[in-house]
């Protein structure tokens, strides 16, 4: 397998091939009916460990914003001129007064007990359910088999109001009109409707003004995101509004959260799509040993999208809202022709030869139009309502690929197999003159258990080895360097249209070379004790030459990014699969226990970079606070941050009482896991079955900045440490900007005394021991904040943590009805099962989020620092399967 099999499929298989074979009707003769139905419920899970001790605000030793000694401000809520009701500071931090249950003004004007709401970020989402029903009918006869299936899915998503329904019809048929001819037909039709695709939560996670405090409740936002007239919330007592009494005027309101709720609950987006995937394959046995196969396939998607943004303000105050619609067509045609000749040379040897041609052509067109400047009539959702001339966009993407390929293989006594392949690719994403590429592969396997006499417990053993080259090409139009053309329209009375051109911010590369992956692979498959134990080991070593990447460059060169062959990478690893049956049931009703254990270790290194660079910078986070780099000769994915400045082996503390950052970069972690794997246990006893799937990962750092910023805002349990004497806080008073320890109730000159002190262990710049006690609020706010040394004292090295975990991925328990009962309703078999997914962690190093929460994209560089996806959820459900 590996590069060898991929050579047959070309550049699309540079990351491997997943072969999906759909069910055919083969098997038992006659009519067969299969039915399955499943229903599952999703609930938000794995939220951070929030604190429920104090609300928004800060103490006087942190900052004076006009609060009293307890941390409250006062409002006059009954209009008598006296400020009698407590209120909270309008702060983004939560080092405020402890919850005491006494009345306080909330931001919606209601006076409530000052207690934690227990109805927070997670309550902005919905618990949801999904269902999937499938019916398949198949008929097998002498020279044909047909299978038709229909599936209906109703998928709920935890983002409020989001849902997706799919109707899928599938026909799989195969006919033998003649003993030398066979025709396969496959048609797949998918009709899909998606309403309100999940909205990004970035403004509530990676943004201080969007983090909900512990006093406010999600219910308030879910009610007050719009006014009683249906317009967007109005913030500020003096802001113009048709309902000024509903204006939000008290502290604590977070517009970013209300904005999210407005977008999710009010605005609508609908996507309708119809997709047809069809293929027809004709096989012809011309003469014995010579076979010709031709195939034509198409994948056609027609998509219609509408976005409705409701008018946020009344027409009297200006235009708002918007409407957009788009029609997109994705059309891909594929064809191939393969001629195979196989011959038995003698008793022991046979060989076969294959030659063929494949081609693929795709054309994707998108067309959209939308309003510009708002809707001229409130909530009239049509492009005709555009205040200014409607805008729009369009694109045409065309792509052609073809290849000539050939393979030769030998088989000796079914013990030794040798195969060689060669492929000549052509692509339209590379410029003329460099758009073809030839690559070979060779592989061999040796079933040594059949060749030699092995001890009886050794049931099967096969060795295999392969070497292959696969190419990869840039994306559509990525390499092409050309000018954008636009028009400014008429700019003077009686003038003509002003046309202009410019270069884009991303520069292509007409001389880009294709990427080549050269891979060598060795493997051994063994089975022991009559297939009761199996061990598969494979080792691979791949060198990727001329890796193609859009490289970020300094904007002062003239572009922000350029497409480049950045250099040579090496990817090697070991995969082990162990299958065992510790308990083998002698009959179908006895206890049977199967185990599968997978382990994989992969090391990715940069061998060489273009222009003799020594390192590749993947990302720079938060104003130079941390970087993700790959250094030549080292495993990829090093995370760098700034450590604490050292003086004679001791930490240096700055004049503010916080640790001083060392200006030199320090490596604090690596994003690549050491080992990943899975552990599957299946039990069968009588009519019951139990399957447990566990996924685990050891090592590999992530940097979930969103969680750490919550600590800087005082929202996590960690940020409560040292907040008072019971929690370890030191007692001190402040003199001339420095905190001085004391045991008294006031300072020598009557200064107020605080109990939330922390002392950084270290020395000052001049070598003296540090004695400056600081407030824990200042410590947590400054140490877990945003920004590099230029902007803050944040210690990003604390954010980088190894993400080791073992998760119960899926647990399912099933019961198959005895056939005597099943046959009463005409079924040959009937199985009922309950299942759960993402259930719990056996172990995890990072406890404030789901270990897989940072996975935002397919590129590993996007999955290091992120907490900005929708929350994770747990699924539980039931499934029924029957065949008739």
């Amino acid at each position: 397998m590996g590069a060898s099999a991929a050579a047959l499929y070309g550049s699309e298989a540079v990351n491997g091939v997943l072969l999906i074979t759909t069910k055919s009707g083969k098997g038992k003769k006659g009519l067969g009916v299969d039915f399955s139905a499943s229903y599952n419920a999703d609930r938000v899970a794995y939220l951070p460990r929030y604190q429920n001790v104090r609300g928004p605000g800060y103490p006087l030793n942190y900052n004076n914003g006009g609060q009293d000694a307890n941390g409250f401000i006062s409002y006059d809520t009954n209009g008598d001129g006296v400020k009698e009701t407590r209120g909270l500071l309008g702060a983004t931090v939560n080092f405020g007064p402890k919850f005491d249950g006494q009345p306080i003004t909330s931001w919606d004007g209601v006076i409530r007990p000052y207690s934690p709401s227990n109805n927070s970020y997670g309550n902005l989402f919905q618990n949801t359910s999904s269902s999937n029903i499938n019916l398949a009918v198949s008929k097998v006869s002498d020279n044909s088999n047909v299978r038709f299936s229909f599936t209906r899915q109703d998928n709920g998503m935890i983002s409020y109001g989001a849902k997706n329904t799919k109707n899928i019809a599938n026909l799989n048929a195969s006919f033998n009109p003649h003993k030398r001819l066979k025709m396969d037909l496959m048609v797949n039709f998918i009709n899909q409707y998606t309403h309100n695709r999940p909205f990004m939560v970035d403004r509530m996670i990676n943004n201080f003004t969007g983090m909900m405090d512990r006093f406010e409740s999600a219910d308030w936002y879910n009610t007050r995101y719009q006014t009683s007239l249906g317009y967007r919330f109005v913030n500020g007592a003096g802001t113009q509004s048709l309902t000024p009494n509903e204006n939000i005027r008290y502290n604590g309101f977070k517009a970013d959260i209300a904005d999210y709720v407005w977008n999710v609950r009010k605005n609508e987006s609908d996507e309708y799509s119809n997709r047809v995937i069809a293929s027809i394959t004709q096989h012809w046995d011309i003469v014995s040993g010579l076979n010709l196969r031709g195939r034509i396939a198409t994948d056609l998607t027609s998509e219609r999208i509408e976005n409705k943004n409701y008018s946020a303000v009344p027409l009297a105050f200006g235009y708002s809202g918007g409407f957009g619609m788009s029609n997109n067509l994705y059309n891909s045609v594929y064809g191939d022709l393969l001629l195979t000749y196989s011959k038995k040379l003698n008793e022991d040897m046979s060989f076969s030869v294959l030659g063929g041609y494949t081609a693929n052509s795709a054309l994707n067109t998108t067309l959209s139009r939308g309003t510009n400047g708002g809707l001229s009539t409130e909530n009239f959702f049509d492009v005709a309502a555009s205040v200014n001339v409607a805008g729009g966009g369009q694109s045409r993407n065309r792509f052609i690929r073809d290849a000539y390929l050939g393979t030769v293989n030998f088989d000796y006594k079914n013990i030794v197999f040798v195969e060689g392949t060669i492929r000549r690719d052509r692509t339209s994403t590379l410029a003329k003159g460099s758009n073809t590429f030839v690559y070979p592969s060779v592989n061999a396997s040796f079933v040594f258990s059949d060749a030699f006499r092995l001890p009886s417990f050794f049931s099967f053993g096969k060795l295999r080895a392969s070497y292959g080259v696969v190419g990869n090409y840039p994306g559509i139009y990525a390499a092409n360097v050309a000018y954008n053309q636009g028009t400014l329209g008429v700019q003077q009375t009686g003038g003509s249209s002003v046309l202009f051109t410019n270069l884009g911010a991303t520069y292509g590369n007409d001389l880009i070379r294709p990427e080549q992956k050269r891979e060598i692979e060795f493997g051994i498959n063994t089975k022991f004790f009559n297939n009761r134990l199996g061990l598969d080991i494979s080792y691979y070593n791949a060198q990727i030459v001329d890796q193609i990447l859009p490289l970020s460059i300094a904007s002062s060169t003239g572009a922000r990014a350029i497409l480049a062959n950045i250099g040579t990478l090496r990817n090697q690893g070991l995969e082990i699969a162990l299958n065992a049956t510790p308990i083998r049931g002698k009959s179908a009703t006895d206890l049977n226990w199967d185990i599968t254990l997978n382990l994989a270790k992969n090391v990715n290194k940069v061998e060489k970079l273009a222009n003799n660079s020594t390192e590749l910078l993947h990302a720079d986070y938060d104003g130079n606070a941390a970087q993700l780099r790959s250094v030549v000769g080292q495993p990829m994915g090093d995370i760098y941050a700034y450590g604490i400045l050292q003086k004679d082996g001791k930490n240096v503390v700055g004049p503010s009482g916080l640790y001083q950052l060392d200006p030199a970069w320090k490596k604090v972690g690596n994003a690549m896991p050491k080992i990943v794997g899975g552990f599957i246990n299946s039990f069968n006893y009588k009519n019951f079955s139990l399957e447990a799937v566990v996924d685990f990962r050891i090592g590999g750092s992530i940097m979930p900045t969103g969680i750490n910023w919550m600590t800087s805002r005082g929202l996590t349990e960690q940020s409560l440490t040292n907040m008072d004497a019971e929690r370890g806080g030191l007692r001190y008073y402040v003199d001339n900007g420095k905190g001085i320890p004391t045991t008294g109730t006031a300072g020598p000159a009557g200064q107020p005394v605080y109990n939330d002190g922390m002392l950084m262990d270290g020395v000052l710049a001049n070598g003296e021991k540090n004695t400056n006690i600081i407030s824990q609020a200042v410590y947590y706010n400054s140490t877990y904040n945003w920004g590099g040394p230029q902007y803050s004292s944040s210690r990003y090295e604390l954010y980088v943590v190894d993400n080791t975990y073992a998760k119960m991925r899926e647990l399912s328990f099933g019961y198959t009805l005895p056939s005597s009962i099943a046959s009463k309703i005409g079924a040959q078999s009937l199985t009922l099962s309950v299942f759960g997914r993402n259930l719990f962690f056996f172990y995890r190093t990072i406890k404030d989020l789901d270990a897989e929460q940072t996975n935002a994209g397919t590129r590993w560089t996007d999955n290091v620092n992120n907490a900005g996806n929708n929350p994770s959820f747990r699924t539980t459900g039931v499934m029924l399967r029957a065949s008739f």
Partner: protein
């Protein structure tokens, strides 16, 4: 029969499917883009690159100016917060990326121009000259913000055929760049005097130049006014003092050779002609009307108090009282307690920038250089060189022109926000009364130092948020008007900075940064800021 039909099928498939080489070549380029361009089209492409930073664009006002310059010169009022004197990286980067994106288009224009035959180069020289003047205006702005910037080697990626490693530019010294620009602008001014365009080329220049509509005299005035601006800026630097004064004298003394912007009719600005084109100021509304909690639109106490004390005729045109202030103008005091500041904003008491003149005005022009600005430069020059009478004339003319300037902007507004209280434009009588007031009157000021303070005040009032970059540069250079700030002890930067530092993107990807790293500190003054 079946055999034949199957052979036919196979043959048909092969024929239908095999793709010709020409199809691959055709499918390579993006069908929506052009392979080649012309001097004219690339000239306009360059000119419109920074339109969102000349016109009052959304990001310029909301992301960049709101938390930086508008606070440093207290033209807006806000609530004090931590880290407020460190310029936000996003806003600083925006300007940097936009400048270098514009420079890239200029370099591309140079590249296209260089490849044209000599005949064509001669006929179309005006495009290159105009582009250079326009570029130097923006370049001066960036140098005034950052100090040393890459310029001479910058933007050459396309000219170097995509060799990105070889296109990393060195940082040039700001003084060198100023000298280079002054020398170039002088020769351009002279060359513009000698240019004549044939009718055909004049026509295409008129169409493509949507700033000055092909008027060569306007470009001459732009070039020379730009020289005045630059010379005045460096007029305190020891090594450039003499040159500054003598060259200004030369320009002011030869109105026909070196014409400058003298009246509002000659203002150099990007005008909004049609709201349905990309040249419009619709972004200003979303920037200024984002909501009270962003403190973008409120007036600062100092500027309101100055205007109130002297019955400034521009007060009702530039500002308006808070909705609940019963007609009284109240600015937010940066020295007050955060509670007081928040209350003023949330209770609708604080004055805001006039919603008809500013946020509701989709036709707000993109200001480059205007008459009042030039006259204040003249006033400063004459005061410095001891010509009190001319200084006074220039000063008083500038005030009158500033008032008329804002009246004009008001008259162009389409009041998209539906504001009911439309301000009354200022009258000539009000201007006269204003000039006589104690806080404004030239003769009553007495000493040269006091008169310079008057000029500084008028610059600050005239520029307000409309010409924020110019405002901050003059405040830093003159050290007037004087502002009080609450120190931010939670941060290393306790008071407003003297510059913006180089953005992280440049630090990360341009190894040449290490040469200027030591000078790149927020507290480091720009070379012309000697006081």
């Amino acid at each position: 029969m079946k055999k034949i039909s199957s052979i036919l099928l196979a043959g048909l498939l092969l024929f239908a499917m095999s793709c010709k080489e020409s199809e691959f070549i055709e499918a390579y380029p993006d069908p929506s883009k052009l392979a080649t361009s012309t001097i004219e089209k690339q000239f306009t492409g360059f000119l419109q690159s920074n339109r969102d930073y000349v016109l009052p664009g959304y990001r310029l006002y909301f992301v960049t100016l709101r938390t930086t310059i508008n606070h440093y010169v207290q033209t807006t009022g806000w609530v004090n917060g931590e880290g407020q004197y460190v310029p936000g990286s996003s806003g600083v980067e925006d300007v940097w990326f936009n400048y270098y994106g514009t420079l890239a288009q200029y370099r591309e224009l140079q590249k296209i121009y260089a490849q044209r035959p000599a005949e064509e180069q001669k006929e179309k020289k005006i495009f290159m000259l105009a582009a250079t003047v326009y570029l130097y205006d923006y370049t001066q702005k960036l140098i005034d913000l950052h100090g040393a910037i890459p310029f001479k080697e910058a933007g050459l990626l396309s000219a170097n055929g995509g060799d990105y490693a070889g296109s990393l530019p060195k940082f040039d010294s700001p003084q060198e760049l100023y000298t280079m620009m002054l020398d170039d602008l002088k020769s351009i001014a002279t060359e513009l005097n000698g240019i004549t365009l044939t009718a055909g080329y004049q026509k295409s220049f008129t169409i493509q130049d949507f700033v000055n509509y092909g008027d060569i005299n306007a470009w001459k005035r732009y070039a020379n006014s730009l020289r005045l601006r630059m010379l005045n800026r460096v007029s305190d630097v020891e090594s450039l003092k003499a040159r500054a004064n003598s060259e200004i004298a030369e320009i002011l003394g030869a109105a026909t050779t070196y014409p400058i912007v003298e009246t509002n009719a000659q203002n150099i600005q990007m005008n909004v002609f049609d709201l349905n084109t990309p040249i419009n100021s619709t972004g200003l509304r979303s920037a200024l009307e984002s909501g009270a909690t962003w403190y973008i639109n409120f007036a600062g106490k100092k500027i309101i108090d100055h205007m109130k004390a002297n019955s400034d005729p521009r007060l009702p045109v530039i500002f308006q009282p808070g909705n609940n202030a019963k007609g009284e103008y109240i600015g937010i005091d940066p020295m007050a307690n955060t509670n007081v500041q928040t209350a003023l904003a949330n209770d609708g008491m604080a004055a805001v920038y006039n919603r008809v003149t500013f946020s509701g005005n989709n036709f707000f022009p993109g200001v480059l250089i205007n008459a009042a600005q030039v006259n204040l430069i003249k006033a400063e020059y004459y005061l410095r060189t001891g010509n009190d009478a001319k200084a006074q004339t220039a000063y008083e003319t500038a005030i009158e022109q500033s008032v008329t300037f804002y009246n004009k902007i008001l008259s162009q507004s389409n009041n998209i926000v539906g504001e009911k209280n439309i301000p009354v434009p200022a009258t000539a009588a009000q201007i006269t009364a204003y000039i006589a007031k104690d806080g404004v009157n030239w003769t009553k000021a007495g000493t040269a130092a006091n008169k310079l303070a008057l000029i500084a005040d008028q610059k600050w009032l005239h520029y307000n948020i409309t010409q924020a970059f110019e405002n901050w540069s003059d405040v830093r250079r003159l050290d007037m008007p004087k502002f009080s700030f609450v120190p931010d002890n939670s941060n290393n930067q306790t008071l407003p900075p003297s510059r913006w530092t180089i953005p992280d993107n440049e630090i990360t990807y341009n190894s040449n940064y290490s040469a200027i790293k030591d000078q790149d500190k927020l507290t480091n003054k720009i070379f012309w800021d000697v006081k």
